[in-house]
């Protein structure tokens, strides 16, 4: 940098560097911290990841994240390698219905009961928008709550 240009350069350096730093403080720290504060104070359930608990109070994960059910007594999620997120917690109504005979077989819960359970826990539609789906963890937690004997093993797992 030639000597005579230095003052001009300095003149520009102040707003340029200053603006970069101030924007960092406002956008990178002030804003997210403000939102965190408000969210934690007013909506801790959502802000902390929609945590799911067993009836006995044990934290088992998030309603929004697939809980990796593998056993036949539970509703199971899709093959996660075929989903975009790898943690898709939901299944379609036909996918859920297709699992009813198997769960019924293993648990003895009647197919009608299971089909009713599916029907009354559809999510994802509102007004004309969306098409229905089911949250696997939610379905299974309801089963555990309604049939503690059948699912005793998992509750006792604590």
């Amino acid at each position: 940098m030639p000597e005579e240009n230095k003052p001009k350069w300095r003149k520009h350096a102040r707003p340029i560097i200053g603006m970069a730093v101030i924007s960092l403080l406002i956008c990178g720290l002030f804003f997210p911290l403000l939102i965190t504060g408000i969210a934690q104070a007013t909506m801790p359930y959502q802000a902390n990841g929609s945590r799911a608990y067993l009836p006995n109070g044990r934290l088992v994960g998030s309603y929004l994240i697939d809980n990796n059910f593998t056993e036949p007594v539970f509703f199971q999620a899709r093959n996660q390698s075929l989903t975009a997120s790898g943690v898709d917690p939901d299944i379609t109504v036909p996918e859920a219905q297709a699992q009813v005979p198997r769960i019924s077989n293993w648990t003895g819960i009647s197919q009608t009961t299971l089909l009713n359970l599916i029907n009354s826990n559809k999510e994802g539609t509102f007004w004309i928008f969306g098409s229905p789906y089911l949250d696997v963890l939610n379905l299974n937690l309801i089963l555990i709550q309604q049939y503690p004997q059948i699912y005793q093993k998992y509750v006792a797992n604590t």
């Binding site: 959502q46 990841g49 929004l64 075929l82 989903t83 379609t92 098409s131």
Partner: protein, 559 residues
Amino acid sequence: MISPLEIAELVLLLAVVLLTAWLYAPFIVKVFKRTPSRVDKLLNPIENSIYKLLGIQVDRSMGWKEYFFSALLVNIAQMAIAFVILTEQGLLPLNPMHFHGMSWDLALNTVVSFATNTNLQHYAGEMTLSYFSQMTAIQFLQFTSAATGLCCGVAMVRGFILQSKGLGNFYVDFVRAITRIFIPICFVAAIILVALGVPQTLSGYITVQTVEGATQQVLVGPVASLVSIMQVGTNGGGYYGANSAYPLQNPSPITDLVQIFLMLLIPTALCFIFGDYIGKKKESLPIIVGAYALFAIDLGIAFIPNPVTVGPGLETRFGGFMSTFWTVVTTAVTTGSVNASLSGIHPLAILAAFMGMLIQSTPGGKGVGLMYLLMYIIITIFIVGLMSGRTPEYLGIKIVARDVKLVMVAFLIHPLIIIIPTVIAYASGAAAAIGMGPNSLGFTQILYEYTSSAANNGSDFLGTLGNTPFFNVSTAIVIFLGRYGPIMCLLALSGSMLGRKRATATESSLKTSSWTFSLVLVASILVLVVLTFFPFLALGPILAYFQGHLNFFSLGLWV
């Protein structure tokens, strides 16, 4: 084709977007015209202390060169800060998962990508970045790049105003864009997103035992604040690698629609500000018609095939319809966020996505989309306007050889930085090295990578596969040129309009605020932009479609 109900959903959502944007547009104009407002009481002291601290003369309007270079240099300074934060995050606070610093090439790619509003991500945030990095590198750049784009768009508009003395003061525009537009909208958006289930916490990832007893980590963090600016600012870079397909970033169809709305809001509002800003309200017509007609064409192409209910690469809660819709929107406004894996999207929807990224103004990224539309208007006026028997003029300004030169250079940048790197990626073996074979599916992904980079869109097929020195560096170069090249040309164009003789529209001038012109504009954009890339699109998504592919999972062969 999609069902009438789905069409109704589309129309309804777009109608809400258009209405809100139309109502919001005058506010944007007021912010940049520095019209006194009720929020002055609160914000003026803060803003003025910033100006004072940095020695900024608020009322000094800049010429195009000073405006552009101020923007560029501030962006570079921000990149430098973010680069240090990313590479040194191991030494910085708020790193509960103890992530290491990024490699230099990935960090370079990331800062260039985020500072330019591109948000191409060759990393998965949840596995790579500390909370501090997500906030002070990613979110920070998402705000500033959005504000920079918006400022440049407004600066370009100012050149067209009668008796305008300059393009405005970049620093003042930049500060006001952040304090009065982005922070307030993002604040509301972030709170809504939290309410709808998006986490916002600084405590570390939650390790749990699943119902069946396996160990699982729930990857929470300051997500909602990031998602708000990533969509509002049409950035697109997600908190998670899977972006808005990840349930914690986009938990339900409602959050999906909210995010689509947020993406479209400011770009659409900017279509309305032009006429308002220059004092000729009707002149917004070709801009809004141009943007939304092309957007509608994109949607039409994407929905030729009936979207699947759910399939590989898609999330159950969104299904084929919402995933396809999102894909078109995210490329139409050059956001680049995704709510599905692009590999799960039908080739024709990918073709529509290409169109959005090649046109860049359907309605395009904030600021930049408007700039491109003005560029298209000028080139269209020049080519077809002659047919009205007059020397082409826009808003009474005669379009001279120098204007045409700048527009053509801006025009030329895109083919150059998309086609040449694509060829090099194949010729050098870099594409083959990451498994992108010489077939329609592989070719689509490489072409998409550079198109997305050039358009500063950021959506990509490659994801972490692209984390190789070749792709990191080459896309960084493409992103940089694709951002600053056209902005420089178009600001120069606008700057040259200042003080130029202009006619008040007479009976005998071409009416650019007419439907006739608006439709001709749409046709000429299709012919000049989309057709130019036709041979390449023919080898990619079009070929994939004719080969019968329904998504990009199957192995495609040339023969």
